[in-house]
């Protein structure tokens, strides 16, 4: 579905046709949304803020995965391992070399991108199912590496991380950390939106849509597949580093295959090949456990709770909810929340003459 423009607004240049915010309304909505987000720490309590921070950090990583899966058509089942690699790199860089945390985060992203390129090298020749399985191998190999490399990850005990600071002002509270994450989210999302408007971005999409035709048109398949893997890992690394400095503790077990699947779930639920969809998917995945928890709390003590033993098994219920959400979205809304959002916007734009 194309962007709906007001009647009479004809684009006369290619540049005008590829603007990110095409209408005055969308630009107004952008500033309004930013203003709301900037005020959020003043209004919301710390728990909600930490949820929002999670949406941001996971959203950045999900965006990376979406560039790989949604825009390039390559599948990765090892995204959480790269996310974890970013988290550990940032903590390690800070502790071993005394780099300021704010510098560690982008450097961790670059390190993760390098690792991604190493695993991306076989990916250049693979596609579809074989690639999915190769990335599964990457997941297990990296997980094993995390458990073994004590100098890097702190081993089974995990690793403590410091909060970033600007000068002497430490961003160690949810209220201040939120702004840091927001800044990163904006930078990363604008960068991705711009990437998709360049020759490289269009090449990625061409590789996804028909890789043979793309190759015939002079697009170097191996180069763009590897590049896409590198970009995805870079985003995962940045997201992971932000995640690590927010939690102030990273444990080896966190970055397991279920987490990787959650990332894929975010991309599917948000919408494959949609930049804002990645953020929506991340928000959905963060909200889902909360909803399950709330439902369990509502049922607590009742007959259903006793019969089904919900109380002690809430973590399994969450996992089931993730699995069910993925399947239901695939069957009933394969294009994800992004499409649903477009439909809602279109409905109001045409209201009440939507027929």
């Amino acid at each position: 579905m194309t962007v709906m423009t007001p009647a009479g607004d004809f684009r006369t240049s290619y540049r005008a046709d590829t603007t990110i915010f095409p209408t005055r309304g969308s630009r107004a909505a952008l500033w309004a949304g930013l203003a709301v987000l900037l005020c959020a720490p003043l209004v919301l309590d710390r728990y909600l803020l930490s949820l929002l921070i999670n949406v941001g950090t996971l959203g950045i990583a999900a965006l990376g995965l979406n560039i790989l899966v949604g825009f390039t058509g390559q599948i990765s089942i090892g995204h959480a391992a790269f996310f974890g690699f970013g988290a550990f790199s940032s903590a390690w860089l800070h502790e071993s070399f005394g780099l300021p945390v704010l510098l560690c985060i982008p450097v961790a992203g670059l390190m993760t991108a390098l690792v991604g390129l190493v695993f991306g090298a076989p990916a250049a020749r693979l596609k579809g199912l074989y690639l999915a399985i190769a990335t599964l191998a990457a997941q297990f190999i990296l997980e094993d590496f995390f458990a073994r490399a004590r100098w890097f990850t702190g081993g089974v005990a995990g690793r403590l991380t410091e909060s970033p600071a600007i000068g002497s002002f430490a961003l160690d509270r949810e209220e201040s950390y939120f702004y840091l994450v927001l800044a990163f989210v904006i930078i990363m999302f604008v960068a991705a939106a711009n990437l998709m408007r360049t020759r490289d971005g269009r090449a990625l999409v061409a590789v996804r849509d028909h890789y043979l035709s793309a190759e015939i048109m002079g697009i170097n398949l191996a180069y763009y597949r590897t590049l896409s893997f590198g970009i995805a890992s870079f985003y995962a690394g940045i997201g992971g580093a932000l995640y690590a400095h927010h939690l102030q503790f990273v444990s080896v077990e966190a970055f397991n295959i279920l987490f990787s699947i959650q990332f894929l779930g975010m991309v599917i639920i948000g919408g494959l090949g949609s930049i804002m969809g990645s953020l929506m998917g991340a928000a959905f995945m963060v909200a889902l456990p909360e909803v399950v928890q709330a439902a369990a709390d509502a049922l607590a003590g009742g007959a259903i709770d006793r019969a089904l033993k919900i109380g002690g098994n809430i973590s399994f219920l969450r996992e089931m909810a993730i699995g069910a959400a993925i399947i239901l979205f695939l069957i009933f809304e394969p294009d994800g929340l992004a499409r649903r959002w477009k439909l809602i916007k279109a409905y109001w734009k045409l209201y009440p003459y939507s027929h």
Partner: protein, 297 residues
């Protein structure tokens, strides 16, 4: 190097590998028939083993009857999954189908944990003798049985695809769906049947492993171990799957031995197959026995 230990390790590897081979075979069956990579194969083992355990302990059924009930249940389970989850996704991109099976995987794994708990539960003893001695080596009876079952299943598959009407229909569908359809083969039925057979065969493997190690969610890891096996063999080769399974079984045992003697990296048993997998994909992207996909525009 100690010769007997090496022999014992290889034998263990072959026995476990035969089970991997069986699971890999049922995985390849689904892939060949319906072009779906089933990431929930391990959960088939899990569900089958738990159902059998449930029939044997809660209902106190004798083993043979409980086992038969399990097989019937798994047949229905496979068909229902195919009809409810995968049929609506026919024609969707690969990633959607893969994600659907992954979603099923985590759903059923969590469901089984919810119903049966996280701790391994032992199977009621089925055999009188725990271990028997073969060529001077102590081997668990259940392992021997599993080897027997594996070989029987493999032979059954061989017969099924070569001579039986349904097996031939399945091969025809795998070869070309449209031609098969025009010859009067019901493709949806073939899909459902392949899922049912795959679920049943996986459940047999699950029950066998459960008898030896007890039933726990660790069983679903077999579904992951299947990937190195099928990549070794090539995604669409049934014989390759069996060979791949055997190789992975032996490889992980030998890797563990090498690791414990010299390297001391730890955990090689789990990870070595994945290193092998990456190496093979680097050299032969279609596996050792898989058909190379020649694409034309």
């Amino acid at each position: 190097m100690d010769g007997t230990l090496l022999f014992q390790l290889t034998l263990n590897g072959l026995i476990v590998g035969a089970l991997y081979g069986v699971v890999a075979m049922s995985f390849v069956l689904i892939y060949k028939a319906s072009q779906v990579v089933n990431f929930a194969q391990g959960e088939f083992l899990l569900v089958g083993a738990w159902m059998c355990w449930w029939f044997l302990t809660e209902w106190q059924l004798p083993f043979v009857i409980g086992f038969l009930f399990t097989l019937v249940f798994m047949t229905l389970f496979g068909i229902i999954l195919q009809v409810v989850v995968l049929r609506p996704l026919i024609g969707e991109p690969v990633i959607s189908v893969i994600m659907a099976t992954i979603g099923m995987g985590i759903f059923f794994q969590a469901l089984m944990k919810w119903i049966f708990g996280v701790f391994a539960k032992p199977f009621p003893p089925v055999f009188t003798a725990e271990r028997v001695s073969v060529l001077g080596l102590e081997v668990q009876t259940a392992y021997l049985l599993s080897l027997g079952i594996s070989v029987a299943i493999m032979a059954g598959f061989g017969w099924f695809f070569r001579y039986s009407r349904h097996g031939l229909a399945m091969r025809a569908t795998a070869f070309d769906q449209q031609v098969a359809q025009s010859l009067g083969i019901s493709v949806p039925r073939v899909f459902a049947m392949s899922w049912a057979i795959s679920a049943v065969v996986s459940a047999v493997a699950g029950v066998t492993v459960g008898m030896v190690n007890g039933v726990s969610s660790a069983l679903s890891f077999y579904g992951i171990k299947v990937f190195p096996a099928v990549i070794l063999g090539g995604l669409d080769s049934i014989l390759g799957a069996v060979l791949g399974g055997l190789i992975v079984g032996v490889l992980e045992n030998l890797a563990q031995y090498v690791d414990s003697q010299w390297l001391n990296w730890g955990n090689m048993y789990q990870v070595a197959p994945f290193y092998a997998l990456l190496l093979i994909l680097l050299i032969k992207p279609y596996g050792l026995f898989g058909t190379r996909n020649i694409e034309r525009i």
